[in-house]
Amino acid sequence: MTAARVVPGRAGGAPGARAGRALRALAAAMLALALAVSVAGAAKDSCVECHRGLDEPRLRAPVAGYAHDIHSERGFSCAACHGGDPADPEVTAMDPDKGFKGAPSRDQVAPLCASCHANAAFMKRYNPRPYIFSLAEWQTSVHCKRESLGDQKVATCTNCHGVHGIRTPRDPASPIYPTNVPRTCAKCHNPEYMKGRPVRTDQFALFSKSVHGVALLEKGDVSAPACNDCHGNHGAAPPGLKDVTLVCGTCHGREAELFEGSRMKAGMDAQGRRGCVTCHGNHGVLRPTDDMLSAERGGVCVGCHVPGSAAENGTREIVMSFRGLAGSVTAADSLLRVAEIRGMETAPGRESMKEAQDRLVGVRAGLHSFDAKKIGAALDEGASLARRAADYGRSALLDWRNRRVGMALSVGVILLLMGLVIARIRRIEKA
């Protein structure tokens, strides 16, 4: 066996040149090795590589979906949830010994997600102000409770968030983006899916016609509430709150504040009635109109207040004053409008009318205090302002009439004078 030895001085040329060639060869070899490693590294996720080419759609689809997933963007591979060895190009990558868990069963999903999302220290590595999932909160939800009873048709994380292809809630393509939330919930909360269950199934239908639904779903106004704004996200339950005014009051603060201190609330609590929804409804809440404020049929008061009772009399008082003011404003408006059509300037009158209308707007909120004295005072103020506006309209019309009288008189004098001058012309020319 002869050892190949580089003998300095032998074939190859000068000693320095040969060293140079050797160095170049070494560099080339290292480059090749690096390339091979990087190529191998690029294919480090064997899950993706393999599943991408599979025939069965169920196994192939996750790859395409996961490409847009927020977890993928943050650098989590398939193995982060499913376990296994993504560096192993063989099917042995899915060896349970290598930690492979496969697709989790329904009741394993929440704990799996929670293993990261409930870990505050972990989440803080990816977000300075992270949402920390609370398993405790999840356990208060009807979804969790029913699931633990073995109900398979109940939502878990993946039903709302998706599975491969989860996007952040701020992404309009996410099923939990505010405008998409109602339809996501309605995937289950509809009559067909919920058949046979003792729960209401009309929520989505009512909601889409409600003022919140129209704002959110048709106008895209994300300040309007979706299902989760009132029911919670992970603790989804019909609000088991102390009372529903706390729910509505998160946005409608003024009305809730007024209502909290009112005798109406005390009365409702005593009778076990719910605030807000008794008059406004919940899922199907419509834009309130002045017709609601009526002691007759069609008004919301008559549903509880018995005719002839002290409360009902109080209702009538408020209703009368309110309608009175609304009527005065309309009357002032038509007076001013006639004056305007006749060419009179009405700006000061319009200003008073606007102030009266402002009182009306204020009372529509102030009603929720159900304090007849305060409401009455505001309505009285408004009434005097409306009176002032109407007075201005009337004086404008009087002015208009006076102008015409003045005009008629002055034109009359002019015509008389014209006639007299013509007569004078005739006289001096007859001579």
């Binding site: 060419g343 300037e345 700006a347 005009m407 002019i414 015509l415 001058v421 004078r424 012309i425």
Partner: protein
């Protein structure tokens, strides 16, 4: 010595007395047209009087103009009346001026030796239009703001000097509060000064040359029938002026001039913006011109056309037959009739759905 005698010797009233006693006005079938100059003058007098009253309350700044007019119309006694009369009388004055100008043209009153009278008259008409244009902006409402914008934009299309002229008028490249103040200066100082000078010349020349007799009447050769200016013609003038006053009272009371909304440069222009009716025929002409004619911008061509037409119209004393008779005279009469028809037709078209 009586007061009259005292004044007579101090003020040289003899000359005036002479005019008053001697001035005579020809009487013939076209005499009615003689009244229109005086009518224009009367309406101008109304404008001066009401204008002076208005300037006591009006404020020429973008922040206060609209409010001051509103204040005037709602808080000042009879402020609405003064303003409405001023606005209506402006329109009546331009109309009277047009009647006066067209009748003078058709009756060939511009013939020698009255050429300069005609030229001063043209200048007065231009001043009238300038008064109307500058005054219209002063209430600073939406309609006026955008009409002025359109007007100055068209002015900028005048070849060569247009851009400079528009900037001079606007006080910049846009209509701003600076434009308003400038227009106010034009309206109450510059134009009245020019008006006084030109009007004085015009009136003097009319007195100096006496009233012109139309060629047709001259031809008849009969001894001219005349009437004394004072009191006969003047009394008839007064009847006309009283009628105008009555018309103004009726218009101001039955069709008060509205204020509209305050100008908002950032709001889109209101639909159907039109200039005042006396510019309407020009506006309509420009509207129907194609955007390009023989490679030149249509609007510019229109403006140049108006300019040329104005020059020709002003030069008619030098272009028409000196004695007002013959083929040339008939040609110019035809030109006059066509011009009247054109102006009337195109004015009407703007209001009766001309092409938008």
């Amino acid at each position: 010595m009586s007061a009259r005698e005292w004044l007579r010797t101090r003020l040289g009233l003899d000359a005036l007395q002479h005019v008053v006693e001697e001035k005579r006005v020809p009487v013939h079938r076209h005499s009615l047209w003689y009244y229109w100059g005086g009518m224009t003058l009367f309406l101008f007098g109304v404008q001066v009087a009401t204008g002076i009253l208005l300037v006591l309350y009006y404020r020429p700044s973008a922040g206060e103009a609209y409010e001051s007019v509103r204040f005037l119309m709602t808080q000042v006694s009879f402020g609405w009346l003064v303003r409405s009369i001023h606005s209506w009388s402006a329109n009546l004055m331009v109309a009277a001026a047009m009647v006066h100008m067209f009748s003078a043209f058709m009756l060939k009153a511009y013939r020698q030796p009255r050429e300069v009278t005609w030229l001063t008259g043209m200048a007065l008409f231009a001043l009238c239009l300038a008064f109307g244009f500058s005054g219209y902006l002063l209430p600073w409402n939406q309609l006026a703001f955008f009409a002025t914008k359109v007007g100055t934009d068209i002015m900028a299309d005048v070849p060569l000097v247009g851009g400079f002229l528009a900037r001079l008028l606007r006080g910049g490249d846009q209509i701003t509060g600076g434009t308003l103040t400038r227009f106010f200066g034009f309206h109450v100082a510059v134009l009245p000064a020019l008006m006084t000078a030109v009007l004085g010349t015009h009136l003097f020349l009319v007195q100096w040359h006496g009233m012109s007799v139309p060629p047709g009447v001259e031809q008849e050769g009969r001894p001219a029938k005349t009437m004394k200016f004072v009191p006969n013609f003047l009394l008839r003038d007064i009847v006309g002026w009283l009628a105008a006053l009555a018309a103004l009272a009726l218009l101001a009371a039955l069709f008060p001039w509205e204020l509209g909304l305050k100008a908002d440069p950032y709001a889109p222009a209101p639909a159907g913006i039109k200039p005042e009716w006396y510019f309407a025929w020009m506006f309509q002409t420009l509207r129907i011109l194609p955007s390009r004619v023989l490679g030149l911008e249509g609007e510019m061509l229109g403006i140049v056309g108006f300019g040329l037409a104005a020059v020709v119209w002003a030069a008619v004393p030098f272009l028409d037959a000196p004695d007002g008779r013959g083929t040339r005279a008939r040609l110019w009469s035809l030109v006059g009739m066509l011009a009247i028809a054109y102006v009337i037709l195109f004015t009407v078209l703007v209001y009766v759905g001309g092409r938008a």
